[in-house]
Amino acid sequence: MKFQIPIGPQHPALKEPISLRMTVEGEVIRDADLRLGYNHRGIEKLAEERTYLQNIYLTERICGICSHSHTTCFVQGVEALLEVVAPRRGQFLRYLVAELERVHSHLLWLGVAGHEAGFDSFFMYTWRDREVVMDILEMISGNRVHYAINTLGGVRRDIDEALRTKILDSLGILRARTDYYFKLGANEPSFVGRLAGVGRLSKEDALALCAVGPTARASGVAHDVRRDDPYGIYGEIPFEVCTADSCDVLGRTVVRIKELGQSYNIIEYLLRNLPDGPVAVKAPRRAKPGEVVSRDEAPRGENIHYIKANGSDKPERLKVRAPTLANYAATLARLKNGFIADIPLIFAAIDPCICCAERTVELIDGRSGRPTVVRWSDLRRRAARRAGRVSKKRNVECPL
């Protein structure tokens, strides 16, 4: 007997609208379908009508969590098309902001994960500490979220000595807090039990389904664009690619926390070795016909922009693929032949903000069309039960 399950976006409290439809047979999902479009704005078409300069601000607004990674990716590509190279100080600042953004994004993710688990105090504490990063970013760029710091040929603002020391000081606080959360996470068995063994994505699957970012890294796939395809100055920065072998949600959490530490190191390195000089060079407005593929490592994984120029001051084509979409593909295919009970947890694992995945699931009987309602919560309960069994069987060790 086959059912159809649409998930969302009827949920009145949803944050960002997406929808999932699944066909299930008993407990097993036979087919999963993702329905985007609730948040589709048509940015790619719009980009063809805007100049390169305007497009920086447009790509920034693809997403408000990793806004900087999109502009970085875009600007890198356009700089290649325009044949300009950003000065070294400009590049240092650009990637400084990128790493700060990674910190803010991972802290945000931790908080939301806590909130999703009903652990509001944890959420409040991580978000309080996130404000430290937000303040730094605001001081550097003049805005809390859309930093608008990238421009063609460099960055728009410089930092002074006072700010430099201030950031270095703040790093101490952040490091201490991150260590604390690390310990708290490791010591809270209910939290660990909830995450371990859930949403398994084997290394083979992660590779076959082109997963990116922490999702892939938690499956032991050491993909990191910063190292694989070094852009900007990443070739000269020492850092480690953090991976975990547990292939589950817990692994993804661990990878994220470890990456926080790496980011602090990178930030420190960048600030200590900040070269002197200008932060930007002048860039022409028109690009010669040509095409470029630009990639960068956003907090959630590989981000790729394909830009084709036609000689005017507007791109002929801008193709954007944000990391979450790449992971949706992996997740969707994984859902097939998986258990209904696993849906929420799998989603929780790839997604930056889990709140949106909180929808009702409606089971529609394939034959009679009469909807039998299965609730998200039920699914989650089943999921957890299954997870408990699985983890007991495999005796999952906490890698923390």
Binding site: H11, P12, A13, G114, H115, E116, A117, G118, F119, D120, S121, F122, M124, Y125, R128, E188, S190, F191, I354, C355, E358, T360, V373, R375, W376, S377, D378, R380, R381, A384, R385
Partner: protein, 323 residues
């Protein structure tokens, strides 16, 4: 005179007026403590220190449009909130405060009132369930089922936990239990495990984290109350607050030695002791993450109930051999 006293009892203290004032105060206290534990300020600008916040919430809701969903069972939907409030108000009257005189009988103090009180405290759960059921919203329905599932988890341990002090005191009357422990305060320590069990059960009864499963907003929106708005929601909120006061009052009576000392001192004792219990509840709320329904049941039966039973046995042995 006694008629006047009864009237005062019913309407002023601990009756309706006090009930309203104190339960809103307790909600404020709870919210404030919770916020402070999270390094926030909590309600601040509604009245002094935000004291009037729950009152404002109440009146705001009273003045709001009241939507009855089309599919809902209209009578049930409308009556349940009022009925619920009436139940907890009655329960409130059973708390042995004010004219604290164990010798005198009266409508509010009789042998077995502890059982009646516990029974009255179970009713809200049923009312929540019915409310959820009658609103026919999917989220509410889940909420309702969860309410019932949890009910079977925590109710028995709570009964067992409250039973042991009663056994120790050898009475089924709240006032006498309290008096017994006032006479022998050392014996209160004996009941410590029971107290812990009872606090956890009350937390579950009040559906607060980690037991806020029936209205886990990240999972099922507003849960039980998804469809309730306006007055009905206001009543339900007030009802939960009163339930909190009554439960903490009950715990304070049986585990913390009641509220002796006549009008003024007794009143102070009442406030201090209930606030202490509420503080514990808030701390519990802040320190935990939500658990799942099946975990509630297994936790209750796996840990709470055995602990309560052990406590009970211990009390029986104690009573048999030592006293």
């Amino acid at each position: 005179m006694s008629a006047l006293k009864t009237l005062l009892y019913v309407f002023v203290y601990p009756g309706l007026v006090f009930m309203f004032v104190y339960s809103t105060f307790c909600e404020w206290f709870d919210r404030k403590v919770y916020a402070r534990l999270q390094n926030r300020m909590g309600p601040t600008h509604t009245g002094r220190w935000g004291l009037l916040q729950p009152v404002a919430d109440f009146f705001k809701l009273m003045a709001k449009e009241d939507i009855v969903p089309e599919k809902a069972d209209k009578t049930m939907f409308t009556l349940l909130p009022i009925f619920g409030l009436a139940v907890v108000a009655t329960a409130m009257l059973l708390l042995p405060v004010w004219h604290f005189n164990p010798a005198a009988g009266g409508f509010n103090s009789f042998s077995g009132d502890i059982i009646v009180l516990l029974y009255l405290l179970s009713l809200p759960t049923i009312i929540f369930f019915l409310a959820a059921w009658s609103s026919t919203n999917v989220f509410s329905t889940v909420g309702g089922t969860r309410v019932l599932t949890m009910f079977f988890g925590y109710e028995v341990p709570l009964f067992l936990a409250v039973l042991s002090p009663a056994l120790l005191a050898g009475s089924w009357r709240l006032a006498e239990i309290a008096r017994f422990f006032q006479a022998k305060p050392v014996l209160l320590l004996v009941n410590l495990p029971g107290f812990i069990v009872a606090v956890i059960c009350v937390q579950a009864k009040l559906e607060r984290t980690p037991f806020d499963i029936p209205h886990a907003e990240t999972e099922i929106v507003g849960g039980t109350f998804t469809e309730f708005s306006g007055k009905k929601l206001a009543f339900f909120r007030l009802m939960t607050d009163v339930e909190m006061v009554v439960s903490s009052g009950l715990l304070a009576t049986v585990f913390l030695g009641g509220f002796p000392g006549g009008l003024v001192l007794g009143f102070l004792q009442f406030i201090v002791k209930t606030l202490f219990v509420i503080f514990l509840l808030s701390l519990l709320r802040a320190a935990t993450s939500r658990i799942r329904v099946d975990q509630v049941v297994s936790f209750a039966w796996g840990y709470l109930a055995p602990l309560a039973v052990v406590q009970l046995f211990f009390v029986i042995l104690l009573k048999g051999f030592v006293l």
